[in-house]
């Protein structure tokens, strides 16, 4: 029997992800909300841009790509990333630790 996949905690989007018709701030977010909010199980979609143009979508406002400077694991990745089945550059992240 296969073990169920752990829930997805974050999504990482490649730069420029989404249709060109949805570049206005709200529509870009609405498009992402329709696609990823059910997956993350959130009622509010929070996005943050990364240094290299990618976009991080997390479950809360405090999400960061790596552990923050003040954390004992500062600089280490906060998630393990896997390519989603569509293989379109979108990565699904699962938290490495509880915090």
């Amino acid at each position: 029997m296969m073990r169920p996949e752990p829930p997805i905690d974050a999504v990482l989007l490649p730069a420029g992800y989404g249709s060109a018709s949805a570049r206005a701030p709200y529509w870009a977010l609405a498009q992402l909300a329709a696609e990823f909010a059910p997956l993350l199980g959130v009622r509010v979609l929070h996005t943050r841009q990364l240094l290299d143009g990618r976009t991080l979508i997390g479950k809360s406002l405090d999400e960061t790509l790596n552990y923050p400077q003040a954390h004992p694991r500062a600089g280490e990745p906060r998630y393990t990333w896997s390519i989603r089945p569509q293989d379109d550059g979108v990565l699904y992240g699962r938290r490495v630790g509880a915090d």
Partner: protein
Amino acid sequence: MSATASSRFINVSSCAFTRKSGGSVTINTVQAVLLGKRGKQIQASGDADFYPTLSVTVGAAPLIVIKHQNAGLLNTLDERTLGSSFSFTSNDAINGAGTGAVTYTLSNCHVVSHEADAQHQALGSCTLTLSAYSSDGQTSPLAMSIAV
């Protein structure tokens, strides 16, 4: 039920600065909010150069400038104020704070300056300038959010 989002914005609501200590401060009478990544520029020149021979953007430090008319906030949010977050909602032109509104949140923020100005035959206003740092150096301290 809200109409379709207009994709245009008008007015700002729910503008608030949460201090690291001392609680949240509502910023009312907001006239405008300017929001930008503020790229950091490095230029180099030497000898008899008139123009720089090197000019690159090497980083970014988000900047938010709030224009408001509540002079009572000048001391409440002075240059020593550290914040855990600052947030405001950019309202949809048709639906207000409903469908189409986008909420911006700046984490790890601090007050850079807070200035007042007075003009001839016009209301005086205040300019609050905020900046922020990134927790990990990779993730922008500025988040955009919408209700699903």
